[in-house]
Symmetry: C2
Subunit: 279 residues, 2 copies
Amino acid sequence: MNSVAIVGVGLIGSSFGLALREYGFAGQIVGVSSAAALEAAKKLGAIDGSASLREAAGSADLIYLAQPVDRILITIEKLPGLVRSGALVTDAGSTKAAIVRQAQRCLAGIAFIGGHPIAGKEQRGAEASEAQLFNGKPYVLTPQGPSTALTDSFRWWLEKIGARVVEMQPEEHDATVALTSHLPQVLSTSLALTLARQSNPNAAEIFGTGLLDMTRLALSSPDLWTSILATNKPAVLAAIEAYSASLADLRRSLESDTVVELFEVGASWAKRIREQHRT
Amino acid sequence: MNSVAIVGVGLIGSSFGLALREYGFAGQIVGVSSAAALEAAKKLGAIDGSASLREAAGSADLIYLAQPVDRILITIEKLPGLVRSGALVTDAGSTKAAIVRQAQRCLAGIAFIGGHPIAGKEQRGAEASEAQLFNGKPYVLTPQGPSTALTDSFRWWLEKIGARVVEMQPEEHDATVALTSHLPQVLSTSLALTLARQSNPNAAEIFGTGLLDMTRLALSSPDLWTSILATNKPAVLAAIEAYSASLADLRRSLESDTVVELFEVGASWAKRIREQHRT
Protein backbone atom coordinates (compact mmCIF):
# COMPACT_ATOMS: atom_id res chain seq x y z
CA MET A 1 0.00 0.00 0.00
CA ASN A 2 1.98 2.95 -1.33
CA SER A 3 -0.62 5.59 -2.06
CA VAL A 4 -3.95 6.53 -0.55
CA ALA A 5 -6.86 8.61 -1.84
CA ILE A 6 -9.12 9.93 0.92
CA VAL A 7 -12.55 10.91 -0.39
CA GLY A 8 -14.10 13.32 2.12
CA VAL A 9 -11.52 14.95 4.38
CA GLY A 10 -13.75 15.76 7.35
CA LEU A 11 -13.14 14.47 10.86
CA ILE A 12 -12.67 10.80 9.93
CA GLY A 13 -10.91 11.26 6.58
CA SER A 14 -8.43 13.84 7.87
CA SER A 15 -7.80 11.86 11.05
CA PHE A 16 -7.02 8.79 8.91
CA GLY A 17 -4.48 10.83 6.90
CA LEU A 18 -2.91 12.27 10.06
CA ALA A 19 -2.78 8.82 11.68
CA LEU A 20 -1.08 7.24 8.65
CA ARG A 21 1.58 9.97 8.71
CA GLU A 22 2.02 9.82 12.48
CA TYR A 23 2.61 6.07 12.35
CA GLY A 24 5.08 6.16 9.50
CA PHE A 25 3.20 5.82 6.22
CA ALA A 26 5.62 7.25 3.62
CA GLY A 27 3.47 7.09 0.47
CA GLN A 28 1.32 9.77 -1.09
CA ILE A 29 -1.99 10.83 0.50
CA VAL A 30 -4.34 12.68 -1.80
CA GLY A 31 -7.66 14.24 -0.78
CA VAL A 32 -10.89 14.51 -2.76
CA SER A 33 -13.33 16.92 -1.14
CA SER A 34 -14.69 20.46 -1.17
CA ALA A 35 -12.12 23.24 -1.64
CA ALA A 36 -12.52 24.46 1.96
CA ALA A 37 -12.11 20.99 3.46
CA LEU A 38 -9.08 20.27 1.25
CA GLU A 39 -7.41 23.49 2.34
CA ALA A 40 -7.96 22.73 6.03
CA ALA A 41 -6.77 19.12 5.64
CA LYS A 42 -3.65 20.16 3.75
CA LYS A 43 -2.79 22.83 6.30
CA LEU A 44 -2.97 20.19 9.04
CA GLY A 45 -0.77 17.79 7.07
CA ALA A 46 -3.55 15.20 6.70
CA ILE A 47 -3.11 15.14 2.92
CA ASP A 48 -0.24 15.98 0.57
CA GLY A 49 -2.42 17.38 -2.15
CA SER A 50 -5.80 17.25 -3.79
CA ALA A 51 -7.22 15.74 -6.95
CA SER A 52 -10.47 14.97 -8.70
CA LEU A 53 -12.12 11.66 -7.90
CA ARG A 54 -11.06 10.42 -11.35
CA GLU A 55 -7.39 11.34 -10.86
CA ALA A 56 -7.24 10.09 -7.27
CA ALA A 57 -9.05 6.80 -7.89
CA GLY A 58 -6.96 6.18 -10.99
CA SER A 59 -3.66 6.23 -9.14
CA ALA A 60 -4.16 5.19 -5.48
CA ASP A 61 -3.65 1.72 -3.99
CA LEU A 62 -6.31 2.43 -1.37
CA ILE A 63 -9.42 4.52 -1.94
CA TYR A 64 -10.80 5.49 1.47
CA LEU A 65 -14.38 6.81 1.36
CA ALA A 66 -14.94 8.95 4.47
CA GLN A 67 -18.13 10.76 3.54
CA PRO A 68 -21.60 10.61 5.12
CA VAL A 69 -23.44 7.39 4.26
CA ASP A 70 -25.63 8.88 1.52
CA ARG A 71 -22.58 10.40 -0.18
CA ILE A 72 -20.64 7.14 0.03
CA LEU A 73 -23.51 5.38 -1.77
CA ILE A 74 -23.26 7.97 -4.58
CA THR A 75 -19.46 7.86 -4.79
CA ILE A 76 -19.52 4.05 -5.12
CA GLU A 77 -21.80 4.43 -8.16
CA LYS A 78 -19.22 6.69 -9.78
CA LEU A 79 -16.18 4.48 -9.17
CA PRO A 80 -16.50 1.86 -11.96
CA GLY A 81 -14.07 2.78 -14.72
CA LEU A 82 -12.14 5.13 -12.41
CA VAL A 83 -10.38 2.72 -10.07
CA ARG A 84 -7.05 1.42 -11.27
CA SER A 85 -6.63 -2.34 -11.46
CA GLY A 86 -5.48 -3.99 -8.22
CA ALA A 87 -6.63 -1.15 -5.96
CA LEU A 88 -8.74 -1.63 -2.83
CA VAL A 89 -11.81 0.48 -2.08
CA THR A 90 -12.96 0.84 1.53
CA ASP A 91 -15.36 3.11 3.35
CA ALA A 92 -15.81 4.49 6.87
CA GLY A 93 -19.59 4.83 6.81
CA SER A 94 -21.70 4.45 9.95
CA THR A 95 -23.91 1.70 8.50
CA LYS A 96 -22.64 -1.25 6.52
CA ALA A 97 -25.34 -3.40 4.87
CA ALA A 98 -26.57 -0.75 2.40
CA ILE A 99 -23.02 0.24 1.49
CA VAL A 100 -21.79 -3.34 1.05
CA ARG A 101 -24.88 -4.08 -1.12
CA GLN A 102 -24.15 -1.00 -3.21
CA ALA A 103 -20.52 -2.09 -3.63
CA GLN A 104 -21.60 -5.59 -4.68
CA ARG A 105 -24.03 -4.07 -7.18
CA CYS A 106 -21.67 -1.45 -8.66
CA LEU A 107 -18.09 -2.60 -8.15
CA ALA A 108 -17.85 -5.78 -10.25
CA GLY A 109 -14.17 -6.69 -10.49
CA ILE A 110 -13.11 -4.01 -7.99
CA ALA A 111 -11.91 -5.12 -4.54
CA PHE A 112 -14.01 -3.64 -1.73
CA ILE A 113 -14.03 -4.01 2.04
CA GLY A 114 -16.56 -2.19 4.22
CA GLY A 115 -15.33 -0.53 7.41
CA HIS A 116 -16.52 1.56 10.34
CA PRO A 117 -14.20 3.23 12.83
CA ILE A 118 -16.09 3.53 16.15
CA ALA A 119 -14.44 6.84 16.82
CA GLY A 120 -16.88 9.69 16.73
CA LYS A 121 -16.53 13.13 18.18
CA GLU A 122 -18.85 16.00 18.89
CA GLN A 123 -17.06 18.27 16.44
CA ARG A 124 -16.96 17.77 12.71
CA GLY A 125 -14.52 18.75 9.99
CA ALA A 126 -10.79 18.51 9.37
CA GLU A 127 -10.22 21.09 12.12
CA ALA A 128 -11.33 18.52 14.71
CA SER A 129 -9.19 15.71 13.30
CA GLU A 130 -6.42 14.04 15.26
CA ALA A 131 -3.82 11.37 14.59
CA GLN A 132 -4.89 9.44 17.71
CA LEU A 133 -8.60 9.36 16.86
CA PHE A 134 -8.57 5.61 16.09
CA ASN A 135 -6.11 4.65 18.80
CA GLY A 136 -7.63 2.12 21.19
CA LYS A 137 -11.01 2.25 19.42
CA PRO A 138 -12.81 -0.60 17.68
CA TYR A 139 -12.66 -0.54 13.87
CA VAL A 140 -15.20 -2.88 12.29
CA LEU A 141 -14.38 -4.50 8.95
CA THR A 142 -17.02 -6.44 7.01
CA PRO A 143 -15.08 -8.54 4.46
CA GLN A 144 -17.25 -10.44 1.96
CA GLY A 145 -14.48 -12.64 0.63
CA PRO A 146 -11.05 -14.05 1.52
CA SER A 147 -8.27 -11.69 2.50
CA THR A 148 -5.79 -10.51 -0.12
CA ALA A 149 -2.37 -8.88 0.05
CA LEU A 150 -4.06 -5.48 -0.12
CA THR A 151 -6.76 -6.15 2.51
CA ASP A 152 -4.00 -7.56 4.76
CA SER A 153 -1.94 -4.44 4.21
CA PHE A 154 -4.91 -2.15 4.96
CA ARG A 155 -5.68 -4.10 8.11
CA TRP A 156 -2.02 -3.91 9.13
CA TRP A 157 -2.15 -0.13 8.86
CA LEU A 158 -5.37 0.03 10.87
CA GLU A 159 -3.67 -1.90 13.66
CA LYS A 160 -0.56 0.24 13.29
CA ILE A 161 -2.59 3.41 13.95
CA GLY A 162 -3.93 1.78 17.11
CA ALA A 163 -7.38 0.56 16.02
CA ARG A 164 -8.78 -2.71 17.40
CA VAL A 165 -9.96 -4.43 14.22
CA VAL A 166 -13.12 -6.51 14.62
CA GLU A 167 -14.59 -8.51 11.72
CA MET A 168 -18.35 -8.79 11.39
CA GLN A 169 -21.07 -9.37 8.87
CA PRO A 170 -22.63 -6.08 7.69
CA GLU A 171 -26.04 -6.98 9.17
CA GLU A 172 -24.43 -7.96 12.48
CA HIS A 173 -22.65 -4.60 12.56
CA ASP A 174 -25.84 -2.69 11.77
CA ALA A 175 -27.87 -4.51 14.43
CA THR A 176 -25.14 -3.74 16.99
CA VAL A 177 -24.72 -0.04 16.24
CA ALA A 178 -28.53 0.30 16.12
CA LEU A 179 -28.37 -0.51 19.84
CA THR A 180 -25.13 1.19 20.86
CA SER A 181 -25.12 4.28 18.66
CA HIS A 182 -28.37 4.89 16.76
CA LEU A 183 -30.65 4.19 19.74
CA PRO A 184 -28.73 6.57 22.07
CA GLN A 185 -28.93 9.22 19.32
CA VAL A 186 -32.70 8.77 18.91
CA LEU A 187 -33.22 8.88 22.69
CA SER A 188 -31.14 12.02 23.15
CA THR A 189 -32.97 13.80 20.33
CA SER A 190 -36.33 12.64 21.75
CA LEU A 191 -35.38 14.00 25.18
CA ALA A 192 -34.41 17.41 23.78
CA LEU A 193 -37.60 17.37 21.69
CA THR A 194 -39.70 16.55 24.77
CA LEU A 195 -38.22 19.46 26.68
CA ALA A 196 -38.50 21.83 23.71
CA ARG A 197 -42.23 21.07 23.60
CA GLN A 198 -42.86 21.84 27.27
CA SER A 199 -44.46 25.10 28.27
CA ASN A 200 -42.63 25.02 31.63
CA PRO A 201 -40.34 28.10 31.50
CA ASN A 202 -38.14 26.72 34.31
CA ALA A 203 -37.10 23.67 32.30
CA ALA A 204 -34.39 25.64 30.50
CA GLU A 205 -33.12 27.10 33.81
CA ILE A 206 -33.25 24.47 36.52
CA PHE A 207 -31.06 21.63 35.29
CA GLY A 208 -27.72 20.06 36.06
CA THR A 209 -24.95 18.24 34.23
CA GLY A 210 -27.11 15.11 33.84
CA LEU A 211 -29.37 16.85 31.34
CA LEU A 212 -26.34 18.23 29.49
CA ASP A 213 -24.89 14.70 29.16
CA MET A 214 -28.20 13.31 28.00
CA THR A 215 -28.72 15.98 25.33
CA ARG A 216 -25.16 16.12 23.96
CA LEU A 217 -25.95 13.70 21.13
CA ALA A 218 -29.03 15.79 20.28
CA LEU A 219 -26.55 18.41 19.01
CA SER A 220 -25.51 16.03 16.21
CA SER A 221 -25.93 17.14 12.65
CA PRO A 222 -29.29 16.03 11.16
CA ASP A 223 -27.78 15.71 7.68
CA LEU A 224 -25.34 13.05 8.90
CA TRP A 225 -28.04 11.19 10.81
CA THR A 226 -30.77 11.16 8.22
CA SER A 227 -28.85 8.76 6.00
CA ILE A 228 -27.56 6.68 8.92
CA LEU A 229 -31.10 6.08 10.18
CA ALA A 230 -32.54 5.66 6.67
CA THR A 231 -30.03 2.91 5.85
CA ASN A 232 -30.62 1.04 9.11
CA LYS A 233 -34.35 1.49 9.62
CA PRO A 234 -35.45 -2.07 10.57
CA ALA A 235 -32.67 -2.45 13.16
CA VAL A 236 -33.31 1.03 14.57
CA LEU A 237 -37.04 0.38 14.84
CA ALA A 238 -36.32 -2.92 16.61
CA ALA A 239 -33.98 -1.12 19.03
CA ILE A 240 -36.64 1.52 19.75
CA GLU A 241 -39.15 -1.27 20.38
CA ALA A 242 -36.81 -3.03 22.84
CA TYR A 243 -36.19 0.30 24.53
CA SER A 244 -39.89 1.11 24.82
CA ALA A 245 -40.41 -2.24 26.55
CA SER A 246 -37.67 -1.48 29.10
CA LEU A 247 -39.01 2.02 29.68
CA ALA A 248 -42.50 0.59 30.22
CA ASP A 249 -41.07 -1.93 32.73
CA LEU A 250 -39.26 0.80 34.61
CA ARG A 251 -42.41 2.95 34.57
CA ARG A 252 -44.44 0.09 36.02
CA SER A 253 -41.77 -0.53 38.66
CA LEU A 254 -42.18 3.08 39.85
CA GLU A 255 -45.83 2.41 40.52
CA SER A 256 -45.12 -0.81 42.36
CA ASP A 257 -42.02 0.53 44.13
CA THR A 258 -39.84 -2.35 42.88
CA VAL A 259 -37.57 0.00 41.00
CA VAL A 260 -34.33 -0.94 42.78
CA GLU A 261 -33.65 -4.20 40.88
CA LEU A 262 -34.05 -2.53 37.49
CA PHE A 263 -31.73 0.30 38.55
CA GLU A 264 -29.18 -2.31 39.63
CA VAL A 265 -29.31 -4.20 36.32
CA GLY A 266 -28.82 -0.90 34.48
CA ALA A 267 -26.01 0.27 36.78
CA SER A 268 -24.17 -3.00 36.45
CA TRP A 269 -24.28 -2.91 32.64
CA ALA A 270 -23.19 0.74 32.64
CA LYS A 271 -20.22 -0.26 34.83
CA ARG A 272 -19.39 -3.21 32.59
CA ILE A 273 -19.02 -1.14 29.41
CA ARG A 274 -16.82 1.32 31.30
CA GLU A 275 -14.47 -1.49 32.31
CA GLN A 276 -14.50 -2.71 28.70
CA HIS A 277 -13.76 0.84 27.51
CA ARG A 278 -10.71 1.16 29.76
CA THR A 279 -9.09 -2.09 28.62
CA MET B 1 -26.56 33.16 61.44
CA ASN B 2 -23.72 32.23 63.78
CA SER B 3 -23.84 28.47 63.96
CA VAL B 4 -24.83 25.72 61.56
CA ALA B 5 -25.71 22.07 62.07
CA ILE B 6 -25.33 19.97 58.92
CA VAL B 7 -27.31 16.73 59.12
CA GLY B 8 -25.81 14.30 56.61
CA VAL B 9 -22.25 15.21 55.62
CA GLY B 10 -22.13 13.54 52.23
CA LEU B 11 -21.41 15.35 48.98
CA ILE B 12 -23.93 18.17 49.48
CA GLY B 13 -23.64 18.59 53.26
CA SER B 14 -19.84 18.61 53.26
CA SER B 15 -19.70 20.91 50.24
CA PHE B 16 -22.02 23.33 52.05
CA GLY B 17 -19.69 23.34 55.06
CA LEU B 18 -16.61 23.82 52.87
CA ALA B 19 -18.33 26.60 50.91
CA LEU B 20 -19.36 28.48 54.08
CA ARG B 21 -15.75 28.37 55.32
CA GLU B 22 -14.27 29.29 51.95
CA TYR B 23 -16.52 32.35 51.72
CA GLY B 24 -15.82 33.61 55.23
CA PHE B 25 -18.37 32.08 57.59
CA ALA B 26 -16.74 32.36 61.01
CA GLY B 27 -19.31 30.56 63.19
CA GLN B 28 -19.41 26.96 64.32
CA ILE B 29 -20.26 24.17 61.88
CA VAL B 30 -21.29 20.90 63.48
CA GLY B 31 -22.02 17.66 61.63
CA VAL B 32 -24.59 14.97 62.41
CA SER B 33 -23.95 11.81 60.44
CA SER B 34 -22.41 8.34 60.50
CA ALA B 35 -19.02 8.05 62.22
CA ALA B 36 -17.21 7.40 58.93
CA ALA B 37 -18.82 10.39 57.15
CA LEU B 38 -18.10 12.66 60.14
CA GLU B 39 -14.45 11.66 60.18
CA ALA B 40 -14.08 12.35 56.44
CA ALA B 41 -15.91 15.68 56.67
CA LYS B 42 -13.83 16.82 59.64
CA LYS B 43 -10.58 15.87 57.95
CA LEU B 44 -11.56 18.00 54.95
CA GLY B 45 -12.48 20.95 57.17
CA ALA B 46 -16.16 20.83 56.19
CA ILE B 47 -17.21 20.65 59.87
CA ASP B 48 -15.58 21.68 63.14
CA GLY B 49 -16.96 18.82 65.14
CA SER B 50 -19.79 16.36 65.50
CA ALA B 51 -22.82 16.04 67.73
CA SER B 52 -26.02 14.08 68.14
CA LEU B 53 -29.09 15.42 66.35
CA ARG B 54 -30.43 16.56 69.75
CA GLU B 55 -27.27 18.49 70.68
CA ALA B 56 -26.81 19.99 67.21
CA ALA B 57 -30.45 21.00 66.67
CA GLY B 58 -30.59 22.44 70.18
CA SER B 59 -27.79 24.93 69.59
CA ALA B 60 -27.57 25.84 65.87
CA ASP B 61 -29.10 28.89 64.17
CA LEU B 62 -29.43 26.93 60.93
CA ILE B 63 -30.20 23.22 60.71
CA TYR B 64 -29.27 22.05 57.20
CA LEU B 65 -30.70 18.63 56.28
CA ALA B 66 -28.54 17.16 53.50
CA GLN B 67 -29.65 13.54 53.54
CA PRO B 68 -31.44 11.49 50.87
CA VAL B 69 -35.15 12.41 50.58
CA ASP B 70 -36.46 9.45 52.61
CA ARG B 71 -34.03 10.21 55.44
CA ILE B 72 -34.95 13.91 55.44
CA LEU B 73 -38.62 12.94 55.89
CA ILE B 74 -37.65 10.88 58.96
CA THR B 75 -35.34 13.55 60.42
CA ILE B 76 -38.11 16.17 60.16
CA GLU B 77 -40.35 13.92 62.27
CA LYS B 78 -37.69 13.84 64.98
CA LEU B 79 -37.05 17.59 65.13
CA PRO B 80 -40.00 18.84 67.24
CA GLY B 81 -38.75 19.46 70.76
CA LEU B 82 -35.10 19.43 69.61
CA VAL B 83 -34.83 22.70 67.67
CA ARG B 84 -33.99 25.74 69.73
CA SER B 85 -36.36 28.68 69.52
CA GLY B 86 -35.63 31.11 66.66
CA ALA B 87 -33.67 28.62 64.58
CA LEU B 88 -34.28 27.94 60.87
CA VAL B 89 -34.56 24.43 59.43
CA THR B 90 -33.83 23.90 55.75
CA ASP B 91 -33.18 20.87 53.55
CA ALA B 92 -31.34 20.08 50.34
CA GLY B 93 -33.57 17.24 49.17
CA SER B 94 -34.10 16.50 45.48
CA THR B 95 -37.91 16.74 45.67
CA LYS B 96 -39.78 19.44 47.52
CA ALA B 97 -43.55 18.89 47.82
CA ALA B 98 -43.37 15.81 50.08
CA ILE B 99 -40.71 17.40 52.28
CA VAL B 100 -42.52 20.74 52.58
CA ARG B 101 -45.75 18.86 53.46
CA GLN B 102 -43.88 16.86 56.09
CA ALA B 103 -42.44 20.08 57.55
CA GLN B 104 -45.90 21.68 57.67
CA ARG B 105 -47.26 18.59 59.39
CA CYS B 106 -44.47 18.13 61.94
CA LEU B 107 -42.77 21.46 62.52
CA ALA B 108 -45.51 23.60 64.10
CA GLY B 109 -43.87 26.77 65.45
CA ILE B 110 -40.49 25.93 63.86
CA ALA B 111 -39.30 28.02 60.89
CA PHE B 112 -38.66 25.92 57.77
CA ILE B 113 -37.66 26.70 54.21
CA GLY B 114 -37.29 23.96 51.58
CA GLY B 115 -34.28 24.06 49.28
CA HIS B 116 -32.61 22.16 46.45
CA PRO B 117 -29.13 22.92 45.16
CA ILE B 118 -28.99 21.89 41.47
CA ALA B 119 -25.43 20.76 41.90
CA GLY B 120 -25.10 17.03 41.57
CA LYS B 121 -22.03 15.00 40.83
CA GLU B 122 -21.32 11.43 39.83
CA GLN B 123 -19.44 10.71 43.03
CA ARG B 124 -20.99 10.63 46.47
CA GLY B 125 -19.68 11.23 49.96
CA ALA B 126 -17.65 13.87 51.76
CA GLU B 127 -14.58 12.78 49.76
CA ALA B 128 -16.16 14.23 46.61
CA SER B 129 -17.18 17.52 48.24
CA GLU B 130 -15.88 20.89 47.10
CA ALA B 131 -16.26 24.49 48.23
CA GLN B 132 -17.20 25.57 44.68
CA LEU B 133 -19.95 22.96 44.20
CA PHE B 134 -22.75 25.54 44.37
CA ASN B 135 -20.90 28.29 42.55
CA GLY B 136 -22.80 29.39 39.45
CA LYS B 137 -25.49 26.74 39.96
CA PRO B 138 -29.20 27.30 40.57
CA TYR B 139 -30.36 26.83 44.17
CA VAL B 140 -34.14 26.51 44.44
CA LEU B 141 -35.86 27.77 47.60
CA THR B 142 -39.56 27.06 48.23
CA PRO B 143 -40.61 29.53 50.95
CA GLN B 144 -44.16 29.05 52.26
CA GLY B 145 -44.34 32.34 54.13
CA PRO B 146 -42.80 35.84 54.26
CA SER B 147 -39.05 36.18 54.62
CA THR B 148 -37.53 36.69 58.08
CA ALA B 149 -34.14 37.89 59.30
CA LEU B 150 -32.96 34.28 59.37
CA THR B 151 -34.27 33.27 55.92
CA ASP B 152 -32.69 36.50 54.56
CA SER B 153 -29.41 35.61 56.23
CA PHE B 154 -29.51 32.04 54.87
CA ARG B 155 -30.28 33.34 51.39
CA TRP B 156 -27.44 35.86 51.71
CA TRP B 157 -25.01 33.03 52.46
CA LEU B 158 -26.29 30.99 49.51
CA GLU B 159 -25.58 33.92 47.23
CA LYS B 160 -22.23 34.48 48.94
CA ILE B 161 -21.14 30.91 48.07
CA GLY B 162 -22.05 31.61 44.47
CA ALA B 163 -25.48 29.97 44.12
CA ARG B 164 -28.15 31.53 41.90
CA VAL B 165 -31.18 31.49 44.21
CA VAL B 166 -34.50 30.85 42.46
CA GLU B 167 -37.81 30.89 44.37
CA MET B 168 -40.53 28.46 43.35
CA GLN B 169 -43.53 26.64 44.71
CA PRO B 170 -42.68 23.05 45.74
CA GLU B 171 -44.99 21.57 43.08
CA GLU B 172 -43.51 23.83 40.41
CA HIS B 173 -40.02 22.66 41.42
CA ASP B 174 -41.03 19.01 41.34
CA ALA B 175 -42.68 19.29 37.91
CA THR B 176 -39.53 20.97 36.56
CA VAL B 177 -36.98 18.50 37.94
CA ALA B 178 -39.25 15.65 36.80
CA LEU B 179 -38.42 16.85 33.28
CA THR B 180 -34.83 18.00 33.67
CA SER B 181 -33.45 15.50 36.18
CA HIS B 182 -35.76 12.57 36.91
CA LEU B 183 -36.69 11.91 33.27
CA PRO B 184 -33.03 11.87 32.09
CA GLN B 185 -32.28 9.45 34.96
CA VAL B 186 -35.14 7.13 33.99
CA LEU B 187 -34.11 7.23 30.31
CA SER B 188 -30.48 6.48 31.05
CA THR B 189 -31.38 3.56 33.29
CA SER B 190 -33.85 2.29 30.67
CA LEU B 191 -31.14 2.45 28.01
CA ALA B 192 -28.65 0.49 30.12
CA LEU B 193 -31.43 -1.97 30.96
CA THR B 194 -32.31 -2.40 27.27
CA LEU B 195 -28.70 -3.18 26.41
CA ALA B 196 -28.27 -5.48 29.42
CA ARG B 197 -31.22 -7.52 28.14
CA GLN B 198 -29.85 -7.98 24.62
CA SER B 199 -28.30 -11.26 23.61
CA ASN B 200 -26.03 -9.46 21.10
CA PRO B 201 -22.49 -10.10 22.43
CA ASN B 202 -21.06 -7.21 20.38
CA ALA B 203 -23.18 -4.60 22.16
CA ALA B 204 -20.70 -4.40 25.04
CA GLU B 205 -17.75 -4.11 22.60
CA ILE B 206 -18.73 -1.93 19.67
CA PHE B 207 -19.68 1.42 21.15
CA GLY B 208 -18.35 4.95 21.37
CA THR B 209 -18.45 7.88 23.75
CA GLY B 210 -22.12 8.58 22.93
CA LEU B 211 -23.22 5.43 24.73
CA LEU B 212 -20.95 6.25 27.67
CA ASP B 213 -22.56 9.71 27.98
CA MET B 214 -26.04 8.27 27.72
CA THR B 215 -25.44 5.63 30.41
CA ARG B 216 -23.53 7.79 32.92
CA LEU B 217 -26.67 8.56 34.93
CA ALA B 218 -27.50 4.84 34.96
CA LEU B 219 -24.54 4.49 37.37
CA SER B 220 -26.47 6.50 39.99
CA SER B 221 -27.19 4.93 43.32
CA PRO B 222 -30.60 3.20 43.39
CA ASP B 223 -31.05 3.96 47.10
CA LEU B 224 -30.91 7.70 46.42
CA TRP B 225 -33.24 7.46 43.45
CA THR B 226 -35.91 5.23 44.94
CA SER B 227 -37.07 7.95 47.31
CA ILE B 228 -36.68 10.73 44.74
CA LEU B 229 -38.94 8.91 42.28
CA ALA B 230 -41.34 7.73 44.98
CA THR B 231 -41.92 11.29 46.22
CA ASN B 232 -42.45 12.68 42.72
CA LYS B 233 -44.36 9.88 41.03
CA PRO B 234 -47.19 11.79 39.27
CA ALA B 235 -44.79 14.34 37.74
CA VAL B 236 -42.31 11.61 36.71
CA LEU B 237 -45.09 9.56 35.11
CA ALA B 238 -46.28 12.66 33.23
CA ALA B 239 -42.73 13.33 32.03
CA ILE B 240 -42.37 9.71 30.83
CA GLU B 241 -45.69 10.07 29.00
CA ALA B 242 -44.56 13.28 27.26
CA TYR B 243 -41.29 11.57 26.36
CA SER B 244 -43.02 8.50 24.96
CA ALA B 245 -45.07 10.77 22.70
CA SER B 246 -41.91 12.48 21.38
CA LEU B 247 -40.17 9.15 20.87
CA ALA B 248 -43.22 7.85 18.98
CA ASP B 249 -43.17 10.98 16.78
CA LEU B 250 -39.48 10.54 16.03
CA ARG B 251 -40.04 6.84 15.31
CA ARG B 252 -42.83 7.69 12.87
CA SER B 253 -40.64 10.34 11.23
CA LEU B 254 -38.03 7.65 10.50
CA GLU B 255 -40.62 5.73 8.54
CA SER B 256 -41.76 8.79 6.62
CA ASP B 257 -38.24 10.20 6.21
CA THR B 258 -39.22 13.57 7.72
CA VAL B 259 -36.77 13.20 10.55
CA VAL B 260 -34.74 16.34 9.88
CA GLU B 261 -37.18 18.86 11.41
CA LEU B 262 -37.46 16.91 14.66
CA PHE B 263 -33.66 16.64 14.87
CA GLU B 264 -33.43 20.39 14.36
CA VAL B 265 -35.94 21.18 17.13
CA GLY B 266 -33.99 18.91 19.48
CA ALA B 267 -30.60 20.33 18.46
CA SER B 268 -31.77 23.88 18.91
CA TRP B 269 -33.08 23.18 22.42
CA ALA B 270 -29.87 21.35 23.33
CA LYS B 271 -27.91 24.41 22.16
CA ARG B 272 -30.17 26.76 24.11
CA ILE B 273 -29.58 25.08 27.48
CA ARG B 274 -25.84 25.12 26.82
CA GLU B 275 -25.92 28.87 26.29
CA GLN B 276 -28.01 29.21 29.47
CA HIS B 277 -25.51 27.00 31.33
CA ARG B 278 -22.57 29.20 30.34
CA THR B 279 -24.15 32.47 31.50
